[in-house]
Point group: C2
Chain length 108, copies 2
DNA sequence: AAGTATCATCGTAATATTGCAATATATAAT
DNA sequence: ATTATATATTGCAATATTACGATGATACTT
């Protein structure tokens, strides 16, 4: 079916899954790493850097922007994307909280 | 096309994406949270807990097992799944490292 | 042995994601 | 105004993911 039954799960569970989904593609990881490294960039740089078509990269950027991990500012005919630090930290904390929630106990 | 071009990216980028992909479904988050809470469980408990079909849950458990986040031990006719603490920590560190890699700088 | 319980696998249907060419839009340069 | 540059959007083809019924495999029960 391909249709996730989100109504079966808590809001928290759906949110964590949605955050993870945005990170679930190497191109988006590469974009984020490039943004982190260069502090800012424009789409055209990424086309050379990643080797994907311009349309594809634009699509990945859109997803990153939708979830709030990056933000874009128009600069002439170019587009300056950069990390949204506030949301980046929110992501880090949410996923960090999830991973910390385990108390190391014995198991089977 | 639906086919990720993994050869364009570094091994690290593909690994992070693959880790995120496993977390990118609320059912798998729910399973992990349930495992954390109850220390162990069997498939049949999860069917009651989650409201998904047994086949579906078995499929999600397989993905979690493949990536190493959980491990299963046969116990009679039941199956004891539990968190693989070692790999759990590896996940936590890898994603943590990724999120820490940013130095808070000014931006656009 | 026959029946029951638990979990995995297979086959299939439906939706989602990825990728790109073509096109649209907007600004800068000439 | 026309052309060039940079990015977004649209439409489409192909693969991936999700979900589940049916079936298979295994072990316990009687």
């Amino acid at each position: 079916m391909g249709l996730t039954k989100t109504d079966l799960f808590t809001e928290e569970q759906n949110e964590i899954a949605n955050m993870a989904k945005v990170l679930a593609h190497p191109a988006r990881i590469a974009i984020l790493q490039y943004l982190i490294k260069s502090e800012q960039c424009i789409n055209s740089h990424l086309v050379d850097e990643l080797g994907l078509a311009q349309a594809t990269i634009s699509q990945h950027l859109k997803e990153l922007k939708n979830i709030g991990l990056i933000q874009g500012n128009i600069e002439g005919k170019a587009m300056n994307y950069c990390i949204n630090t506030e949301n980046w930290n929110a992501f880090k904390n949410a996923l960090g909280f999830f991973f910390e929630s385990i108390e190391t106990k014995k198991c089977c």
